[in-house]
Amino acid sequence: MPTDTFDIMLLLAKLTLLYGLVMTAAAYLVLAERRVLAWIQDRTGPNRVGPLGLLQPLADVIKMLTKEDVCPAGADRWLYYLAPAMAAIPAILTFAVIPFGPPLTLFGRNIPLQVVDLNIGLLFFLALSSIAVYGVALGGWASNSKYALLGGIRGLAQLISYELSMALSLVPVVMLAHSFRLGDIVAAQASVPFIVYQPLAFLIFLISIAAECKRVPFDLPEAESELIAGFHAEYSGMRFGLFFVGEYINILVLGGLAATFFLGGWHGPWLPPAVWFALKVLAFAFLFIWMRGTLPRLRYDQLMHLGWKVLTPLALVNILATGWFIMVL
């Protein structure tokens, strides 16, 4: 635990900066999604508020803050109010372990560009992603509505199933890096990113994180066309906004983790490391938006089939193959 005043101030500064960056980026990701989707569908998208529609997120926030905060009559009040926070907080917390640049040397001090480099960083992420399930499940259950309950149950089953293949696809990364520490994992990819050695694990991880952020083609918990909005159907105002922004924070954080585990984190030629990291994260965000504009939704049995009968066995075989590779060569 840091006792030095300077260290505490530094930690607070990093937290504030990261929080501000993540919230702003998530708000602008919403705008980016609307613009890119519109572009894919040959529309214009929101372009009225400010130049090129750039002030749209601000307008959205004002709208959501001034809307009525509805709580359905039959809802379980406490859990109904708690659920949006349970959905957004784990996503924000995960940012604490992601390194977004090499350590800086400032005033003769070594400042890592990461809030905390836990020696169990990878497991910390898995723990928080397993906690994120509660937001969906409790939100769906506490609303006391058929659609929300169905969405909540679907979300629960989907998140549990894909967490397994996601965790298993990360085992080869740990085997190659010999560490759970994200700083070490990035350092191990200084010359060659792990996607070169582990294309299969990367593919499994990519599909699993798409399912973890409940994005198309895995958006069954929300499924607008059949469940209205699924687990957050009853929410209004900023509570709905928290679910919504939580989803976009999740995209950013999972994109950041995918970049850290497979694309070499902040490593890259010519450009400054932090810029490389941001580019990789934004590339993942763009990929998710692109997928939403392109793919249809899976059926529920297809979703479960893909998770349990395809991705999980493949990830297990991949672990065995990686182990054999490391032992023999």
Partner: protein, 161 residues
């Protein structure tokens, strides 16, 4: 500083567990129990055991409690909060067991001190894994076989006739 945090967390854990036991609504009880697991995880972290802390959250709060929640959400429980409290004949075994635990604690507390506790030492994941799989490898295998039996049993029960 660590002591203050510890006492706050310990209070949270005890209170949350008490609520988890007395709460009549199963979903609320699960939320209380998950809170208690969280507090316990942070206590493990304070004791320089981050691995135990993370496993506490991943396995207990993230997997087991979530599965309970899943089952409860699938069942239509009606109005569990209107159910009467269980009669004494339903919970006397719990009382007997807790009295046993209390008694053994009292006996231990009354015994002469067996030396200062070992200094807290942080063990890395590599060391933990080496001890677990070298010294207790057979036990780990037996436990995993037991899980396999449960899996096969579930498959047998769930197969289509």
């Amino acid at each position: 500083m660590e002591q203050i945090v510890f006492y706050i967390l310990a209070a949270v854990v005890v209170i949350a567990t008490l609520f988890a036991v007395t709460e009549r609504h199963p979903v609320h009880a699960i939320v209380y129990l998950a809170t208690s697991f969280f507090g316990l995880a942070v206590i493990f972290y304070l004791l320089l055991a981050p691995l135990a802390a993370v496993f506490e959250v991943i396995i207990y709060a993230g997997a087991i409690m979530v599965l309970f929640l899943f089952v409860i959400m699938m069942l239509d429980l009606g109005h569990p909060e209107k159910v009467k409290r269980p009669a004494f004949r339903d919970w006397w075994p719990a009382v007997v067991l807790s009295l046993l635990i209390l008694a053994s604690f009292a006996v231990l507390a009354g015994m002469p001190f067996f030396g200062p506790p070992a200094a807290a030492a942080q063990i890395d994941i590599r060391g933990f894994a080496a001890v677990l799989f070298r010294n207790y490898g057979v036990a780990v295998e037996i436990i995993s076989l037991q899980l396999l039996f449960a899996l096969v049993g579930a498959l047998y029960l769930g197969r289509r006739r």
